[in-house]
């Protein structure tokens, strides 16, 4: 039977372990070593605790910015191979300016290789974001967007998926653990040919998991709700009127009869409106008026 003092020490060590997860695992391992040496936990319990700490470290959350970027590049290559990219410099430039501006007021403005935006050559109504900041919007979706305000919210929604690393969360966890096992923890270790081949297969699987989620199964309702909320917030922080997203979702609702695309992977527009309405209200009337925004939006879209 453990004494109150022992329980207190155990609690402190446990807290230390949890706290230090965000700072790397070494300190957590030290904490469990001390606990084992002082007899608070057995050697067996110590090893088990360390394995758990290792497992936590090897989650999608702990992937490096560089790894996220390289997974995102392969997801982007897959999406582009399916749809093709519209080669229209003026619209692409405008899209990148709006997107980049919104990213600056997001929760994660700086990512490994910045945010990039492209138009997919499809009449389907859809938008995707690959990890690492590759954001796509279809020509069909762009044609439905009525103004720069709504465009800023649509791009804000996709930026929120990137900022929250939702794409990486779609990767099968066992696949990820297997990949980290191949990599090990030694900085100086060089991968041999067999390991590179194995890692490439796991990479291919991870890319497949994300593409399947983006195109077929969709993110969870909670992830979509967060993206809607944050997308409006990022755009409103910049000075756009958040109410524009409600109007746009109304237009989406009417277009939903056509089916396909975003309507297969996102909650119904009416549900999104109902969830967003109080959020838009809480964001208040931060928006600013500008006829220049209307003019530049119309000018850019005229060539689409």
């Amino acid at each position: 039977m453990k004494t109150p003092i022992t329980q207190t020490v155990t609690l402190i060590l446990l807290a230390l372990g949890v706290i230090t997860l965000g700072w790397g695992c070494k300190a957590a391992s030290i904490a469990t070593d001390i606990a084992a040496e002082s007899g608070v936990i057995s050697e067996e319990e110590r090893d088990s605790a360390n394995r758990t700490i290792e497992a936590f470290r090897k989650s999608a959350e702990e992937m490096t910015e560089e790894e996220e970027y390289y997974i995102g590049r392969a997801v982007a290559a897959d999406i582009i191979s399916r749809y093709g990219v519209v080669q229209n410099r003026s619209v692409t430039e405008y899209l990148n300016r709006v997107g980049k501006a919104v990213s600056l007021t997001s929760s994660r403005p700086e990512i490994y290789n910045d945010y990039h935006f492209a138009i997919l050559d499809s009449d389907e109504i859809n938008a995707f974001a690959a990890p690492g900041g590759f954001v796509f919007i279809t020509r069909g979706m762009l044609k439905l967007v009525p103004n720069e305000e709504a465009l800023s919210m649509v791009l804000g929604h996709e930026i929120a998926h990137v900022a929250n690393r939702h794409g990486l969360e779609a990767i099968n966890k066992n696949r990820l653990l297997e990949a980290f096992a191949v990599l090990g923890n030694e900085a100086g270790k060089t991968l041999d040919r067999e390991e590179v081949v194995k890692l490439t297969k796991l990479y291919e699987g991870a890319v497949g998991d994300i593409v399947k989620t983006l195109i077929e199964s969709g993110y969870s309702r909670s992830q979509e709700k967060d993206a809607d909320h944050q997308g409006c917030e990022f755009a409103a922080n910049l000075g756009y009127e958040a109410g524009a997203m409600l109007e746009f979702l109304g237009a989406m609702d009417k277009a939903a009869a056509g089916g396909g695309g975003m309507f297969e992977t996102h909650p119904p527009a009416q549900d999104r409106i109902a969830t967003l309405r109080p959020i838009v209200k809480s964001l208040g009337d931060r928006g600013t008026e500008s006829s220049a925004r209307t003019t530049r939006f119309q000018k850019a879209m005229a060539s689409l």
Binding site: K26, E110, G188, T288
Partner: protein, 161 residues
């Protein structure tokens, strides 16, 4: 009896958390490049460009921004999403890591799902990254962003309704 233990324990944990939070004054750049700015905003003048793996010393934080000093002796603001408290080890040649570091606190950049794996994937699966390269190559400059925000009356140039 339990409540007499839980209270002090939580206090000790809180003290430990605060202590750890202030202990880390060294930050590492985790994005390919970032800009050290004169003020805590993205449209502030650029003082220097830093790259992944560069170390900076934290002076103070203000919202999402940190005021830091570089090894070259320059001081300015970085957005906190550009830096990490983890130590990032990078190689200066070909993306392979320098030997030596082996602790768990180190983020093993240059290892994992990287260019080497992408090359193998592209080769075995016949995937082309040409269109992705073209997409990545397009960048919006600081000047473009500032002009865009000014013209659209956004951010600091907005006029409240």
């Amino acid at each position: 009896m339990k409540r007499y233990i839980v209270g002090p324990t939580l206090m000790v944990c809180l003290v430990l958390m605060v202590g750890l939070a202030f202990a880390a004054d060294s930050l590492t750049v985790q994005v390919q490049t970032t800009k050290l700015r004169k003020d805590a905003k993205f449209w502030a003048p650029v003082l220097a460009t830093l790259k992944a793996g560069d170390k900076v010393t934290l002076d103070r934080a203000q919202g999402d921004w940190v005021f830091v000093s570089t090894s070259a002796g320059q001081s300015g603001w970085l957005h906190n999403s550009a830096v990490t408290t983890k130590d990032i080890q990078l190689s200066d040649s070909g993306g392979t890591l320098q030997a030596g570091a082996s602790t768990d606190e180190i983020t093993l950049a240059g290892k994992g799902f990287t260019k080497e794996v992408e090359d193998e994937y592209g080769k075995t699966r016949g995937v082309s990254f040409k269109a992705v390269e073209a997409m990545s190559a397009y960048r919006v400059s600081d000047q473009e962003i500032e002009a865009f925000l000014k013209a659209g009356k956004l951010a600091d140039w907005g006029v409240s309704r």
